[in-house]
């Protein structure tokens, strides 16, 4: 400990000198492997599928935590400082992202800039407010629902966003990336067909969700899911709302309540018990549970869970 103290005190003197030197460091050229930082594991997985050996991918938000409330650590700042490319969700999901980029001193990673991949590009957004925005009416996300990870069809669009950028900043490996992307999309298409078949029983049914993060998942499966236990993020349900939900679940014969791992389960479980429904864990990100470590096993898990519960 004493050594550390000494180290810091000594360096307090060199800080001003260092700051001066820092401002003259030139922007480095692209070298392999390309260093990529993604905000979420879903995005880092897509990049890895396409970049394979030519990319070194890291992510900021650990998948077991709620992506709304991430507290970046020094490693995250360091990874971003060293990175060549930054991948984020776009929209307004990752409120911590901008200050993280500022702390790392990487203006080229901001949205719309040359070294940023905005995964939401080209995605058909759901729940986009269609009226003059009024916060009092409960428009949580002003650009639309940002949880588009949940639909495997959207992964194809994300892959497109990734390959486009990889080819433009690393043209030497363009054909390598293309081959990987083709293989990835082919496998995805085959799996999508499988998942659709597995979940054929879900089509037309209705589920309840804990948080407003299920829309794309429901869209893919043909589920109806527009009632939430948590009426607003972070606000516990009122007695009236619970009463309403109980009636609603009974009247509509709802069999399942979906929620990710990081919200408290008690409200959902209490309700499920009273009405004889099942609480289903639907992951929000790759790696949130053991055995969901890549994109395919992630969707496998979610779709198996929901089709099982709705039998």
């Amino acid at each position: 400990m004493f050594k550390l103290k000494y180290l810091i005190l000594k360096n307090a003197v060199t800080i001003p000198l260092f700051c001066a030197a820092l401002s003259t460091v030139p922007c480095h050229a692209v070298e392999n492997p390309l260093k990529v930082v993604a905000t979420q594991t879903m995005y880092s997985s897509v990049v890895k599928e396409i970049g394979r050996d030519k990319v070194d991918v890291k992510y900021v938000a650990p998948p077991k935590f709620n992506v709304h409330f991430i507290q970046p650590k020094p490693t995250d700042v360091r990874n971003i400082t060293k990175a060549d490319l930054y991948v984020d969700a776009g929209l307004d999901l990752e409120a911590w992202s901008d200050s993280l980029l500022e702390a790392a001193g990487k203006p080229e990673f901001f949205r719309g800039r040359e070294r940023n991949i905005d995964m939401s590009k080209g995605i058909r957004l759901l729940e986009v407010p269609d009226h003059q925005l009024s916060r009092a009416e409960g428009d949580i996300h002003i650009y639309g629902n940002p949880h588009y990870n949940m639909n495997p069809e959207n992964v194809k669009i994300m892959a497109e966003n990734v390959i486009e950028k990889l080819k433009s900043i690393d043209p030497a490996n363009a054909s390598y990336y293309e081959t990987n992307e083709k293989a990835f999309i082919a496998r995805l298409d085959q799996k999508i067909a499988e998942w659709k078949k597995l979940c054929a029983n879900c089509n037309g049914q209705e589920i309840l969700s804990y948080h407003k993060d299920i829309a794309y998942f429901a869209d893919f499966l043909g589920l109806k899911a527009d009632q939430y236990i948590e009426p607003k993020p972070g606000i516990p349900p009122t007695p009236k709302h619970l009463e309403f939900l109980e009636e609603y679940v009974k009247a509509n014969h709802i069999k399942a309540i979906a929620m990710p791992t990081y919200y408290p389960k008690d409200a959902a479980e209490a309700l499920a018990k009273r009405v004889g429904a099942k609480v289903v864990t639907v992951c929000q990100n790759v790696g949130e549970l053991p055995g969901t470590d890549d994109i395919f096993s992630f969707f496998d898990y979610n779709f198996r869970q929901i089709s099982e519960a709705l039998k």
Binding site: F18, L22, T81, A95, P233
Partner: protein
């Protein structure tokens, strides 16, 4: 090492600025025995920001800031009006009540606003690691002005904190000076909490001043000790956070806790007192 400096320099500077004003204000807070007043004021400020949200004003807008500040001033008025010559209820009770009610009020307001819970929560948690140069300059200016204000009126401020009975006797307008104290205090705390969160601000406020009061009873020496401790602990906290990869704010708070334990042990073993065997 370069990466360490690159990442930790700004947070460290922020810690130094924090130490400067909080170690001083902490001395007052402890003498007044209003330990949790900063939590209460931060909570009131958050209510202000949430009211702004309900009116459709973004949390980053200056209106939101002024609204927070307005609520903080109301809080300052409450705290200065609840200090009497004969204190029947300890002020901590009032502070606790203000804290609990404003935290609950925040939940009520946000349940109607439907948005902003994330940002409000963020405003109470903060992340000192991600502070930028603009914010550093801003707090440096604000805290310097408040520091100078307190320096100019140090006699009054120290008298009402240290010996209010004497102040009443001297015919000082204790309520007014109390109010000025809490307004300036609220100004500092609201800005700091937004950057670093309630835990970190509490630690900077209470730990250096507690250590200093244990060792000395002279205001000037206490202040020097508080600043020294704040400086060293901030540096240690930065190193822990960086080299062990822990969240920065929490590292600093824990470093403060450990430091206090070590200093208490040192005091116990050596019976150390820096100036002043005769207590005042």
């Amino acid at each position: 090492m370069n990466a360490f400096l690159h990442i930790m320099t700004l947070p460290f500077l922020a810690c130094l600025i924090f130490t400067g004003i909080h170690a001083y204000l902490g001395l007052h807070v402890i003498e007044r025995q209003v330990i949790f007043v900063d939590l209460a004021l931060a909570q009131i400020a958050a209510v202000g920001a949430s009211v702004a949200l309900v009116f459709g004003l973004s949390i980053d807008s200056p209106y939101s800031y002024w609204m927070s500040l307005g609520f903080t001033i109301v809080g300052a008025a409450i705290f200065s009006l609840t200090r009497f010559k004969k204190q029947r209820v300890p002020q901590e009770a009032i502070i606790g009540i203000v804290y609990a009610v404003s935290a609950a009020l925040l939940i009520l307001i946000l349940s109607r606003s439907g948005e902003g819970d994330e940002q409000i929560r963020q405003a109470l948690v903060g992340n000192i690691l991600l502070i930028n140069l603009k914010e550093i300059i801003k707090i440096f200016i604000i805290y310097s002005i408040i520091g100078l204000f307190h320096y100019a009126f140090r006699k009054q401020f120290f008298l009402i904190s240290h010996n209010p009975q004497e102040a009443f006797k001297k015919g000082l307008n204790v309520k007014l000076w109390d109010f000025l104290f809490y307004v300036s205090f609220g100004f500092v705390v609201t800005s700091s909490v937004k950057i670093a969160g309630v835990l970190v601000v509490f630690a900077f406020l209470i730990v250096p001043s507690t250590c200093a009061i244990i060792f000395s009873n002279v205001a000037k020496i206490r202040l020097m000790l508080g600043w020294g401790i704040g400086f060293v602990v901030s540096a240690i906290g930065m190193a822990i956070s960086y080299f062990l990869d822990f969240p920065t704010g929490a590292s600093v708070v824990c470093a403060f806790g450990v430091t206090l334990v070590i200093l208490l042990a040192v005091k116990k073993i050596y019976q150390l007192n820096i100036i002043g065997r005769h207590t005042s």
